[in-house]
Symmetry: C2
Subunit: 329 residues, 2 copies
């Protein structure tokens, strides 16, 4: 059988308390004692039992991450960074999906409670998040990519408004007038902000806002294709901004199918600098999120909250998006 803390204590000739303190650095232990304990641990191949330790201490070294879906472009690269930072600090990453559905999100939060994660990183689904403040077990939560309505916490999020504003201004200055938007799941704050930036730019340039230039679809290839088809109904359409990478793919497919020249007839730009942007036909202009950095910051923020539970106010960290111009605009 696996060795227990008692075995280690006996082997090292100390109490289990001392072993525990050596393990966790929770009180001073004499150098020589530490050595003996560490040797015993190595000798016996001792691995602590996280369940026992969790039962006593209410800490599990597990962090939950709630994403729309594991395969979503934004979450994947962020998760990679999160895993790295957490791993370095001795935490494990537990993943669950909301599929942009607030009810599923709630269920998953219950599972996280059940699994007693120490903290949560979360892409909040559209919907009211007041329930988070009512949860019995209070744990730190850091939001990613979006704000959650009705719940204030730390957030790591892109500079959506200005990025969108700048892009649209650029398009307008280069003579585009009818700029369509492929919008993803409704109620996602990050997307709403991009539309806000879009409208702001139109206003500044005195270009009329046309509601039919904003087409909603789910953030899939098909969603992008269909939303693009809808945009093509608008006379004079000369640019499209996609708010989600799969929609960008659907957009390119649709424009090819309808034989529109990019960027000749219609300029295209998309949020999310995917690795295929370069080899697409044509190479597509994108707005790049510093995903890896966002993941690192979010994980670090969460770890800070875990170490200093009584901390100052919540922070909203805005990271700049970078416009990467390619052929499509």
């Amino acid at each position: 059988m696996a060795a227990t803390i008692k075995d280690v204590a006996v082997y090292a000739g100390v109490s289990t308390a001392t072993v525990s303190h050596v393990l966790n650095g929770t009180r001073y232990v004499a150098e020589s004692t530490q050595e003996r304990v560490k040797m015993a641990i190595k000798k016996l191949g001792y691995v602590p039992n996280i369940s026992a330790s969790g039962l006593r201490s209410n800490r599990t070294k597990r962090i939950g991450m709630l994403v729309p879906s594991i395969s979503s472009f934004f979450s994947v690269d962020i998760a990679d960074a999160v895993e790295q930072v957490l791993g370095k600090n001795g935490y494990q990453l537990v993943i669950a999906c909301s599929h942009e559905d607030i009810e599923r999100e709630k269920k998953q939060m219950d599972v996280f409670t059940y699994q007693q994660v120490d903290g949560v990183l979360m892409f909040p689904a559209p919907g009211a998040h007041g329930y988070l403040d009512e949860m019995v077990r209070k744990i730190p939560i850091v939001f990613l990519d979006r704000k959650a309505s009705g719940c204030e916490r730390d957030v790591i999020i892109g500079e959506n408004i200005s990025a969108s504003y700048d892009l649209v201004m650029q398009m307008l200055e280069e003579g585009r007038r009818r700029i369509g938007i492929l919008n993803g799941t409704e109620g996602v704050s990050a997307l709403e902000e991009r539309i806000e930036g879009y409208r702001k730019a139109l206003t500044v340039k005195g270009v009329e806002f046309m509601p039919e230039l904003i087409q909603n679809g789910n953030s899939t290839i098909t969603g992008g294709y269909e939303a693009t088809e809808a945009l093509l109904e608008v006379k004079g359409l000369d640019a499209i901004i996609s708010l989600a990478p799969p929609m960008t793919i659907g957009c390119l497919k649709c424009l090819k199918r309808y034989k529109r020249k990019i960027p000749g007839d219609i300029a295209v730009a998309g949020f999310g600098d995917t690795e295929w942007a370069d080899i697409a036909d044509p190479p597509v202009t994108t707005l790049r999120h510093p995903l890896f950095e966002m993941g690192q910051m979010a994980a670090q923020k969460l770890l800070n909250r875990l170490e200093q539970p009584e901390q100052k106010e919540y922070e909203t960290i805005r990271v700049p998006l970078e416009l990467i111009r390619r052929v499509s605009f």
Copy 2:
């Protein structure tokens, strides 16, 4: 504070044993008693403490998944399916990365041990896996996408040899003669099998095997680019097969940079039917893995092992790959 099983027992007027049995379905409980217990649970908002239960029962309802990196194309879609199946069965998914390094893999397995996962799904890194048979805590392991050398377990894996063989035969029949291979991380069984299929087809068709037609690189865009450059040194090169999606991107970039016509000068096909294959320049012929199904099968297989620990022999499940022809070949 959160309610405990004792609170529920008192509220329902039964013993904690009965509550536990109702919760886990581990012994018969009278209908009426069950009802009372369930009401009490709901009334008190009781959530079981997984640490306590794990400490006693050695089951944690957690499954570890070890992937090369979270953002790897193959693992992402598989993980989505795994998460779905596990979630439906009340299990949580814990993710860790090996980065194709056996030493990191071992460390992560230690963490999984520490976190007491009930089972593991794993893309084995290149290297010897005998260590898995020596681990103190015996838990079911299912391998994904590759066999692990020195360790027999259930495996869900693509029909790599025949898929590669068929593809190469097709290329040869259409007049391609010098077919280069962009190979990923060395020592990955799935990739080795594809090369085996390649060589088999060459032999059957009586085409000489040229070692310089196989270029290794890490499975990244840059790796693919550089390996492609190396292939261009080979006179008469008229086709390239990429064994990993990021390398396919690097390949397309490189061929564009060197102004080679696809498929005119060089045909291109890649393992991994990514969502961008359609809109690449040119649209690229791929071999599609049924990733979602693979994830489902792997998760199901693991759950079966958990439920029936004393089971028959290990199984190797081969799933067919589908050739999806587009413009590039």
